[in-house]
Amino acid sequence: MLVIKRKVSESILIGDDIEIIISEISQDKVKIAINAPREIKITRKELAETCEFNMLASEKINKISIAEVKNKLNSIKKNK
């Protein structure tokens, strides 16, 4: 993996037509501006991962396993 240090308002280029500009840095956040052609899809990674998670979660449910989880959680609650 390539790692580059950048300051506010500096940018990097990916290929010829994608520019990533560091627009603001605070304590635990960085604001990024992206210039890219329309056909390039830009997604926050956790959003793509959530889609993927939902796909797996929507598969036909396994009633036996769910009952097992449910009973375990109920018994934990009783013992609290």
């Binding site: 959530t50 939902n54 989880v69 959680l73």
Partner: protein
Amino acid sequence: MYRENKIKTRDFGEITVKKEDIINFTDGMYGFEDYKRYIILKDAPEDDVLFLQSLDNMELSFVLIDPYAIFNDYNPVLTEEDLRELNTTDEDELKYLVIAIIKEDVRQSVVNLKSPVAINPKLKTAKQVILQNSYPLRYSIISTLGGQ
């Protein structure tokens, strides 16, 4: 519009839907944006495991878990935009449920703590939100279940 309706679902057979139980997801669930109306099903009142059944696609359902049953310190922080869409300014006014992937070997089951379903119980609106918190997207429930 109907007041009460019977539908036939893939996972729960025939269920009766009351109009007041319908929850509207303005954006749908991520990856399933076309389906906006859902109902929450529960086998018993004390259960922490619930089901989210789509009313627009009978084949679509999710397993939901009350996050507080597995993660005591769950303290969701939403973006201002998400709060606005849910018509509130206070995270505590919303109810949260997390999506689970329950595996046949239940010790491999995971929940998504990063992107819960946030529900406004008064307005019956909901949104799957991506939290500002750095919670894991795949949180194993094995330690909760007491497995090795």
